[in-house]
């Protein structure tokens, strides 16, 4: 092979590998939804669940004939959990791929970067991961929507349940970045309102796998409940070490959220009796018909049950489709207006609605507890649903407090 020919072949090959969706999209007149997410990096497992949830939604919608007679197509891009990369990928999705809608984003700071791009390009963006800022001034745009729970709602709901049921003397251990700090602030404020005592709170650097140096002091303080914000891989390392120091026997341990990938990795030996909130768990299929539909579709395709973050993506893709159908137009402005004019929907876990002043989705969440190994039915049965917390706008800040009234 000549050098020139080789270079040509290699370049085309590399381009195909790098942009497979370009090749695929040339086939028909599809409605394109761009989906940036951190497929590489510490949140890779959650991002994968989100992609799978989105794919399940698209296939479900297309199997029923698509939207306005056109098929949906989702274009995934890796934002590497970096705001600059997220912004760049979003810009490419909008300008090069001609995506009219963007769904996606994990981690608050990357969502903000994506949101900046969609605001500038005047495209609809449905964010599917936790953030307080995205539905508040100055980040909220006329086409910005937020499908996921946020730290305020989660920590108010989980915090008041903990103080009423597990104890009012707390210690808080949190990852020293936006999400950890926001949750800590909301939890501490809630605890004070309930008449509880915060014995202490300690920050640790996110991504640090060694917690032992934090533990003697916490043990010494004898809290009734240890509340932790230890996301991703930190969660496993923390629980392993806390348990080896015998802390599970000395106090209750709770966290704002459980994540299915971590539950699977850590297993019941780590997670039994650990309390948390969750926006969705597949066991809800027993009581909610829409949940049953989603869980069955997901299981059929991926041979495992869906997690909570994948369900956000599933619901958001359905909302784009619902908006297009209502608006009878593939246009961000028209879809946004249609969704706000018909704010109530129910795709996978019961009734949800958009609050029209801040485009925040209100939805039920659940208090769950890790199951013991002996009580598990099958490989994925990690959680007991303890209590439902019904959707309520009073759990979030008001639009006035957010500066968007």
């Amino acid at each position: 092979m000549q050098r020139r020919t080789f270079l040509k072949t290699a370049t085309v090959g590399a381009a195909t590998l790098a942009f497979p969706s370009i090749v695929r999209a040339q086939g028909g007149d599809t409605i394109k939804i761009g989906f940036p997410g951190p497929t590489t990096g510490p949140f890779g497992a959650l991002a994968k669940d989100q992609q799978q949830g989105a794919i399940v939604a698209v296939e479900e919608i297309n199997a029923k004939g698509g939207v306005l007679g056109r098929k949906l197509e989702v274009l995934f891009r890796d934002d590497e959990l970096k705001p600059a990369v997220g912004a760049q990928r979003t810009k490419e999705l909008i300008e090069n791929e001609k995506c009219e809608f963007i769904v996606g984003g994990l981690a608050a700071h990357v969502q903000m970067a994506i949101n900046e791009q969609t605001k500038a390009a005047k495209k609809l963006f449905i964010s599917v991961s936790q953030s307080d800022e995205i539905t508040a001034k100055p980040d909220l745009g006329p086409l910005t929507f937020h499908e996921a729970l946020n730290p305020t709602i989660t920590s108010r709901a989980v915090g008041s349940w903990i103080s009423q049921n597990l104890g009012k003397k707390w210690w808080i251990l949190y990852a020293d970045y936006a999400w950890g700090k926001q949750n800590t602030a909301v939890l501490s404020e809630g605890l004070k309102k309930q008449g509880g005592t915060l014995l202490g709170s300690t920050p640790y650097p996110l991504g640090n796998p060694e917690f032992s140096a934090h533990l003697p002091r916490i043990i010494d303080a004898k809290p009734e409940v240890l509340v932790t914000m230890t996301p991703g891989a930190d969660n496993i390392a923390f629980l392993k070490q806390a348990i080896s120091f015998g802390m599970k026997k000395q106090m209750k341990i709770a966290q704002p959220l459980h994540w299915l990938p971590q539950l699977k990795q850590g297993g019941p030996d780590l997670y039994s009796d650990i309390y948390a909130g969750i926006s969705f768990t597949w066991q809800l299929e027993d009581s909610i018909p829409e949940a049953k539909n989603y869980v069955q579709l997901y299981r059929k395709k991926y041979n495992e049950p869906p997690g909570d973050y994948g369900a956000y993506a599933y619901s958001a893709i359905h909302e784009v489709a619902r908006g297009i159908t209502l608006a009878k137009a593939v246009n961000s402005d028209a879809v946004a207006s249609a969704l706000l004019a018909n704010p109530t929907y129910n795709h996978y876990k019961g009734k949800q609605w958009w609050r029209t002043c801040d485009h925040k989705a209100f939805q039920d969440l659940w208090i769950v507890k890790g199951r013991e190994r002996a009580k598990m039915k099958g490989d994925w049965d990690f959680l007991d649903v303890v209590q439902k917390v019904a959707a309520s706008e009073s759990l979030d800040r008001t639009c006035g407090e957010k500066g968007v009234a």
Binding site: A45, R217, I219, D220, A233, A237, K240, Q241, S244
Partner: protein, 294 residues
């Protein structure tokens, strides 16, 4: 802030000791390699990560933690030998930055490979049943496994010291780090010694990895922060000094532990504060020989 019991403080010092032990194992390997070969091995953190993953694989194959503990460091050591022979050796005699860049690139390749092979989510390793649970030290309950980590590290460091001070190979290694030209002139094939030392250093990193596995889990990025802190230990102890690596490893472990106790916000930067202070007072580190870097 300072209203803490003596028991909590004692427990805190003990946790710092375990942190220090992992630093000691990593820093000895780095320091040994640097002292003899003046190679700054940026892939050391990845060898640490490989130790944990190899341990996981061996545990799965053999079902025995003890087998994994014995053979994972050996496997990483062999991997280190190969890296020295085929990647680093061609760079001897060139700019000292070249091996540094090569090992830095290698560390990126290894982290990505680990993600491809073992997935982006970490894995968990369980300590053997005999080491599960906690021991009552009088002032606190302390995890048995962490006491075991202290014991293993002490045994390994003593064995290494005996090897370097009392055996012929150890004599050649020490001589080689002092004056490689002279040793070569005496008819010793230093290339084999370099390969051996790189292998031993890698094996120590692997040992640190498998020991850390049951405490922290195994994941692809586990070596990324450890390598930076280990370099701090080597610099504080003095580049190339084994005694320095041991003393500085324990010192940094306690600094991290005590800052976490009294001022958790500063725990991230305290080690760098110590490094800056040591470098101001003793530019070549606590036990470093002046002139090694020139």
């Amino acid at each position: 802030m300072f209203d803490v019991s003596a028991a909590a403080l004692a427990a805190q010092l003990f946790t710092g000791l375990v942190l220090g032990m992992i630093f000691v194992l990593l820093a000895i390997g780095l320091s040994l390699i640097f002292g003899l070969m003046t190679v700054v091995n940026f892939a050391h953190g990845s060898f640490y990560m490989l130790g944990a993953y190899f341990g996981f694989v061996l545990l799965g194959l053999s079902g025995s933690f003890w087998v994994a503990l014995a053979f994972a460091p050996l496997a990483v050591g062999v991997f280190g030998l190969l890296v020295e022979r085929f990647l680093i050796r061609p760079l001897y005699g060139r700019n000292p930055d070249d091996p540094l860049l090569l090992t830095f690139g290698l560390s990126l390749v290894l982290v990505e490979s680990a993600r491809v092979i073992w997935g982006k989510i970490g894995l968990t390793l369980d300590p053997p049943a005999a080491l599960a649970g906690a021991v009552n030290l009088g002032f606190t309950w302390f995890p048995t496994y962490r006491l075991f980590v202290i014991a293993v590290t002490i045994v390994v460091v003593v064995a290494l010291w005996v090897f370097l001070k009392r055996t012929n190979v150890g004599l050649v290694i020490r001589a080689g780090s002092r004056d490689p030209l002279m040793v070569a002139a005496l008819g010793v094939d230093l290339r084999r010694i370099w390969m051996l030392v790189f292998g031993i250093g890698s094996a120590l990193a692997g040992l640190a990895g498998i020991l850390a596995g049951p405490m922290r889990g195994a994941y692809a990025e586990m070596g990324v922060t450890m390598i930076i802190e280990s370099f701090v230990v080597v610099v504080v102890g003095g580049m190339g000094s084994l005694l320095g690596a041991v003393v500085a490893g324990l010192l940094i472990g306690e600094v991290v532990s005590l800052t976490t106790f009294f001022a958790p916000k500063l725990s991230d930067i305290a080690v760098f504060g110590v490094m800056a202070l040591v470098l101001l007072l003793r530019p070549s580190g606590l036990f470093g020989e002046a002139g090694l870097m020139e």
